[in-house]
């Protein structure tokens, strides 16, 4: 699984480019990822951005609007959708159908497929995040970080969260023996993680210390807390960043250990 761009020959670069291009075509032909990771968050953004009640500052939410609170949740949602709703299903289907086996008979290692899919996932994440931030700030008055430091922290948080969710997707693909199991495992991981990003109820409205404590150690809760702080002009502190880093590194290490190409 070591595909370093530095060591690729021009021929290998071309092969990898074609592989990414074909994965992009497939992602357009079966647009699950586009719908879940781009379409749904964008629709939610438009809905909540258009309701006057949700865009007014709310004393119950600490004086900010529900909309400003909800956008960090949507950003985290994009990342769990990218990591969990497409990558594991696609990879376990490829393994089941013999796509990885077919590729293992060529000079190209099947890990290239994984690298190509990860690349496509990252492209998808960038599209989803850019649309949310662009439309949110441009059309609905989303409050963005106040300074360069806020942007930098937000960027780091997004990268770490994306790495963690992709790692979790990979972990699901590694332990799932079939696409059906991958589907079931995804659901078991996705919905709780979505809950702790504040998708159903804003975390600020849940007055339970247990829930708050769980949120702090989960990648979506930590990601949301850090983004919420950075967007509000505060420092998120080291803790959420550490939590995210542990998830990002841990999921990849375990997934790459467990992953089988056949």
């Amino acid at each position: 699984m070591s595909t370093s761009a530095i060591t690729l020959t021009p021929r290998q670069r071309r092969a990898f480019g074609l592989l990414v291009a074909s994965e992009i075509k497939i992602a357009i032909r079966r647009p699950v990822g586009l719908v879940v990771a781009v379409g749904i968050p964008f629709a939610l953004l438009v809905i909540f951005g258009s309701i006057p009640a949700t865009t007014r500052p709310d004393a119950k939410l600490g004086g900010i609007s529900f909309f400003n609170l909800y956008v960090p949740t949507l950003l985290v949602f994009v990342l769990i959708a990218v990591g969990l709703m497409t990558l594991p299903q696609q990879l376990s289907a490829y393994r089941r159908q013999g796509v990885l086996r077919r590729m293992s008979t060529t000079p190209v290692h099947p890990s290239w497929v994984l690298a190509a899919q990860t690349t496509v996932s990252m492209i998808l994440a960038v599209i989803g995040l850019t649309i949310l931030l662009g439309a949110g700030a441009g059309a609905y008055g989303l409050a963005l970080p106040h300074d360069a430091g806020g942007y930098l922290v937000s960027f780091v948080v997004l990268v770490l969260t994306a790495t963690a969710t992709l790692g979790l997707g990979l972990l699901v693909a590694a332990v799932a023996g079939s696409p059906q199991i991958a589907q079931a495992l995804t659901a078991a991981v996705f919905y709780p993680l979505a809950f702790f990003s504040g998708l159903y109820v804003p975390l600020q409205e849940i007055h339970s210390q247990v829930i708050q404590d769980i949120a702090k150690v989960l990648p979506t809760g930590a990601g949301f807390n850090a983004l919420h702080a950075a967007f509000g002009g505060h420092s998120p502190g080291v803790e959420p960043l550490l939590v995210l880093a542990v998830w990002a590194v841990g999921s990849w290490v375990i997934a790459t250990r467990l992953f089988r190409w056949e």
């Binding site: 159908q97 013999g98 008979t105």
Partner: protein, 331 residues
């Protein structure tokens, strides 16, 4: 000259392309052994393949053919034994091996939503000196399916695409596993012609099959594999002759007789009765010996039928004992 030009010049069935036995073997396998847990998949397999040969690996499902091929093509690590392919170690020199050896395996596919033309272009990019993909697609009669998604191809089209992908790197050796399984007879014959054409270009072919007819028609030499061992290795014709030493004669006698009349003959190994019919198994000039012995006893043999041996008989004779007596015969 590209591979596809030569596939199109059909050498015809009468042209025999002699493989070069004097040249160094392209594949050498010695005492290959592989097990999965406690199950021995390949016990002890040795053979050599010469350049330009069509070499058959014949055996039942589960005999260990696919595992042997997976070890030879570097997809699995053998537990014991020596393997050399084009002078390379299949595991250590895996990438170089895959540049020069095209492999078509069972249970392998390209993504469902990839078009035929896209798959060929993509796979061509994996190799140092790829063949012209469009020519190869035309040669295999897939030009009308160029824009079809893989999941919409027929079984035969999928097989032909997998042949295209196995040949797209202009390999020196093509390993084809159960190539014609699931094809209709016409498509099968077309595929056979294609393989002969590929070989005419000098590509060495290792053909894994459980079809006797296919091995008999195509292969220069065949290794019969049973329970993970090579039980015979020879030209298909020679194997059939070897099997013919144990042949059968069926007839209906005009009168009953004691079995000893025939079983005493040196040529006869067994005598069985199936209703009015008698089946005699044995070797040598069996028919003459049986008919003469009956004649001396004043009995005539009607409806005499002899069963000529082919590769299938050789296969049955040389592999698992338990499969012999499906019709009550012993040999």
């Amino acid at each position: 000259m590209s591979i596809t030009e030569l596939i199109q010049t059909d050498p015809g069935p009468s042209v025999s392309v002699a493989s070069d036995r004097s040249a160094a073997p392209v594949i050498e396998v010695a005492h290959l052994h592989k097990k999965y847990g406690a199950t021995v998949a390949v016990d002890d397999v040795s053979f050599t393949v010469h350049p330009g040969e069509i070499f058959g690996i014949l055996g039942r499902n589960g005999a260990g053919k696919t595992t042997a091929v997976e070890c030879i093509t570097g997809l699995r690590t053998a537990d014991r034994g020596e393997i050399s392919v084009l002078g390379l170690d299949p595991r250590r020199d895996r990438r170089e091996l895959h540049e020069r050896v095209g492999v078509q395996l069972q249970e392998s596919a390209v993504p469902e939503l990839m078009r035929v033309g896209e798959a060929v272009e993509l796979y061509a990019s994996f190799y140092r000196e790829p063949a012209d993909g469009r020519e190869l697609i035309a040669t295999l009669g897939l030009q009308d399916a160029q824009h079809t998604y893989f999941k919409h191809l027929s079984g035969g089209q999928k097989q032909r695409l997998s042949v295209v992908l196995a040949l797209i790197g202009q390999p020196e050796i093509a390993v084809l596993d159960e190539l014609t399984t699931g094809l209709d007879p016409e498509a099968r014959r077309d595929t056979w012609r294609l393989i002969e054409g590929v070989r005419a270009h000098g590509v060495t072919i290792v053909l894994v099959t459980h079809f006797m007819e296919e091995a008999e028609r195509l292969c220069d030499r065949v290794a019969l594999i049973d329970h993970g061992r090579v039980v015979a290795l020879d030209r298909p014709g020679a194997l059939a002759i070897a099997a013919s030493t144990s042949k059968r004669v069926r007839f209906t006698p005009t009168e009953p007789f004691f079995d000893e009349l025939l079983s005493a003959l040196p040529e006869v190994s067994s005598v069985e009765h199936h209703g009015p019919e008698v089946v005699v198994a044995g070797s040598g000039d069996l028919v003459t010996a049986v008919v003469l012995a009956l004649h001396r006893a004043g009995i005539r043999a009607d409806d005499v039928q002899t069963e000529t041996a082919n590769l299938e008989d050789a296969f049955l004779a040389l592999t698992d004992e338990t499969t012999h007596d499906t019709n009550g015969l012993t040999r």
